[in-house]
Structure formats: C-alpha cells, structure tokens
Amino acid sequence: MAETQTATSRSPGNGKTAARTRRRWPTSLVLGVILVGLVVGVALLSFFWTPYNPTAINVRARLSPPGTPGYPFGTDRVGRDLVTQLMVGARNSLYVSIVATFVSIIIGTAIGLFTAAAAPRWQSIVTRAVDVGVAIPGIIVALVIATALQPGNTASIVAIIIWFIPVAARVAIGPAKQVLTLDFVEAAYAYGRGKMFILFNHVLPNISSIVIVQASVMFAIGILAEAALSFIGIGAQPPTASWGRLLKEAQSLIDVSPSMMVFPGVAIMVAVLGFNLLGDGLRSYLDPRQVFRQGDA
C-alpha cells in the first residue's frame, strides 16, 4: 500500500543509470502487467469458454483430488470442476473490484478537487469528515451495508464504494491544493478562466498520475475485500462463483479435501500481487522524481 513507497533502494549506481533507463519499464510494472493480464485474460476467456458449465454438477466425481483425468484441480462437494469455478470467480472478483474502484475514484477525486478549491472553513470540515471516513474499516462499512441491503455482490460493491470514497478524496486533496498554488493556475485565472475549467483542465491532468496509481492499489484492495466479504457470507451468494466463497466452502472440508482451499487462495494472491505491482510500477514510471527507485523489486 501507499506506505511502502518510502522504503528506499540502496543499490549503488542507481543514480548513474537513472537517466539511461528513464524510458524503460520498471521490473514491478512488467511483472504487474503480466499478472494482471493473466487474471483479466482468464476472466474474459470465461465468458466464451470454460472446461465445464459453471453450474454443472457431477456427483459421481465429487471431491476428486487434483490430477484426476478431466479435472486437473479436482472438484468440489457436488462435483463441480474447480478450474471452471476459478475462471468464473476471476470474472466476479474483477467485476466487483473494478466497478467499485471506478465509481469511488470518480466521486472521491471530484470531492478532492472541489475541497481543494473551497474556502478554508469548508476545507477543514470536509477534511475532518474524510479523515473519519478513512478511519472506518471497510469490513465494518460492508457489514452495516449488508444489514440494510441483502447480502450479495451489490452489497459488496456499495460497501467498497463507500469505504473507498474518503480514501480517494484524501489522496486527491493535498496534490490538488499544491497545483492550485502554481503560477500557471494564477495565469489561467488572470486569463479569465472559471474555477471549474481550471479544476478539470489544469488541476486534474496534473494529479492524474497520482489518481491512476491510487486506482491500481484500490483494485488490489477491492479484490481482497470482495474475497473477505464472500468468505464471511455477506458477499457473492450461491450460485455465483467467487474465490472467497470457494474458500468458505473449502473450510468445512479442510481435513477431507485440503487442495480445495489452495487454488482459490493462490488465485486471490496472484490478482492482488499483480495490481499492487502494477501500482508500484506505475508510480515509478509516471513520476519522474521517483525514477531513482526503479531498482526496487
């Protein structure tokens, strides 16, 4: 997450090679793109092809171990193919996480922009509210939402949105305020541009790299949140395939079929790792001041 960025690279000679490698992709960006590409590719593929019908039940093959002919990862307690479940689960994880991230980034960034340009009194009120919002853990928001709505993907998405909006706003407020003090903003005012024009045409482009990096980290947190919510039973409901729900089902079969809980967990890890690395990589790639951190894994 954001705090990891201050860990400094100590490899000697980094500064010397920085200029030469400026246009190269950092290792973390390459790895991130590969892992995210893998997860997105599998999710897209699941719309057109899966080894079996996602809801197909084959009781005779129930609880097959991995490596069973026809079922490379094995089957669950009613004989559903685990590869198929994982592929469709990728779709569900990405759907929840991406919808929630996009909506909250748009609303949160807008709040951040308007707050940065608002009168100091309003700034301090909004900042205080945003700080409280950031302090409320996402799971708590989700449990409150699930009480009001029915458990399901919608509850997950709404919960993650409400959780993320203050985070996105707080990330945007500081940089937006900084850009507003720059000379060219004053020049734009002098030229007769309105506040809205300046916010969206001058400030937004200048904080866009921060917003993009934040979005990438949020995709990762969104996937973790979706999995956790489905695991405790307030996210995706049967028959929707979800990595978290697969783990919930595997929990009760832990001594019978331990392999069932290995694969969904690895899938979550790969997806989260991918989006986190993508965020780290984009951070060093998009921000020239941080180019010296390229050596970081």
């Binding site: 997450m1 409280v132 799971i139 708590i140 999995a227 967990g265 790969v270």
Partner: protein, 324 residues
Amino acid sequence: MNSRTLALISREALTLLVSAIIGSLVVFGLLRMLGGDVALMILGQEAAPEAAEALREELGLNRPWYVQYFAWIGGFLTGDLGRSYSGGYDIFEQIVVRFGPTSLLAFGSLFVSIAIAIVVGTYSALHNKDWTGAAVDVAAQLGIAIPNFWAGLMLVYVFAVLLGWFPAGGYVPLLQDPGGSLHSLVLPIVALSLSSAAVKTRFVRSAMLDVMDEDYIKTAMAKGRTFRSAVITHGLRNASIPVLTISALQLGSLLAGALVIENVFVIPGLGRLLLVAVNGREVMVVQSVAFVILMIILVMNFVMDVAYGLLDPRIADKKAAGHG
C-alpha cells in the same frame, strides 16, 4: 503539566469528539438511508402492517430520528442499549463480553507484528545486504497480497490438521486458563499479523540502513561500541516513529481482520456477534458494534496524536497552525 501540553490535549480531544459525532451519525444514517424502514428490515419487506407497527412501537422507531439518535448515544453512557430482537441478550453486556477476544486478537497481532518486523528488519539490514533486501521486498509484497483468512486456513491445515500442535479453533477465556488461552490464540494471531509485519519490516530495515552511514555511528564506535550494537540502538530509535505511526494506522485493518479471522477459528468475539446480527437484521446490534470499533480506532488515533505532539513539538505546532 504545562499550558502547551494542556492546549495540545484539549485540541486533540475536541478533534476526537467531532470525529465521534460524525462517525456515529454516518453509522446511524447509513443504515436508515440505505435500508429504509428499520422495522421492515427486521421483519422482511412482506411483513403485515400491524406487526411492523407493533415492532416500531416496541423499539421506539416511531419517534423522530434525532430522539432515536440521542437515545442510542445515551444508551452507551448508561450501559443500556436494549435487548436483541431475535437473540434476547442484553446488547451492551454482549458487546462488553465479546470485546475481550477481539481486542486480544487485534492488539496481540499488533505486538507480534512489531516484534517480527524488528527482528527480521534488523537481521536483514545487518546480514547479506545484497539479497535480503530483495527477499524482504518480495516477502512484503506477498504479505500484503495474501488474505489473512486464507493464511489462517493454511495454518490450521498444517499446524492443527497435519501436525496437531495447536487447536483448529475455539477460544478459552484468558482469565480462566491463561496457558490454554494463549495456546488457542497462536494460530489466529500469527495469521493476522503476517501482512502488517511484512509492511513494517521494510521500514525497520530502511531505518537501520539509514543510520549506518551516519557520523554518530562512528562516534559510538570510537567510544568502544561495536558497529552492530551502535546500529541496533540508533536504528531502533530511528525506526520507532515510523513503526508507531504505521501501527496506529494498521490498528483499523487489524480490528477488521480480527472480525474475519474470528470466523476461521470460531472465536466468540465482536465479529461473530456482528455477523449473526447482520444475518438477523439486528440494526441496533450492528450500529452499536460498528460504533464501538470506530471509537477504539479514534481513541487510538487520539493517543497517538497526543504522543507525537509531546515527543516532537514541531508536529504539534504545525497542526496548531491550521494544517488539520
């Protein structure tokens, strides 16, 4: 206590109060704005109008919202939040009882993760600098990416199912049997502390590496200290502020994680209470537990902010200058 300290504490206390009011209004309002009629949330949308009306009467839901809000806040002060609609238990009493296991998990993980971070971070800074840096970075990335509940499941499989060293779940109250209680908490605490330890290890390591080139290390060595002990004492002091800051920030996610981990290890804490209440649409229980957890986090932030102000007057002055 001088006047500056007093001013600092009262300013932070005011912040705490305002945050608590905003937070309680958000929790209270969110449920009603999204869920609509609380009586229909509990009884289901197809409930008979008479039954809904009777329930509204019973729970005081026909009063204006602000009366309900203040009655709820007052309930925290008097220790009377009413009884659970479906469970029949005293809500305030249950929250107090369930608070123990959850806070043991969260604070236990906080301390364990700090201990892991200090040991691993220090070791990796002092030995084999070439590859441990990469190893710590990779471990940190993996630590963040592994869901704590999955780590819990894997630990149960290896250490409870295969090896039988620890119980797979359940909870023994600390006062009843301290040894058995700690024994049953080892796996959940380890599962919960992995990702926060991974993040903090990077900070300890880089703080240690930062002090290595400083002149005061040479001075300490000239006075007869070994390089190792000089780096460890100065490095740990250097690392303490970032580690404490991150720990305060992590408390929220540790508490949230504890709520989930309780479901892996069947620990009767606030998470189990909350989940049963969510499924039973117990609005009063849900909003009360949510507010209690929020208050723990806000009070911790208050303590941290006061501590910073006292440790480093520059931070307090900067905040007083309107930084917020």
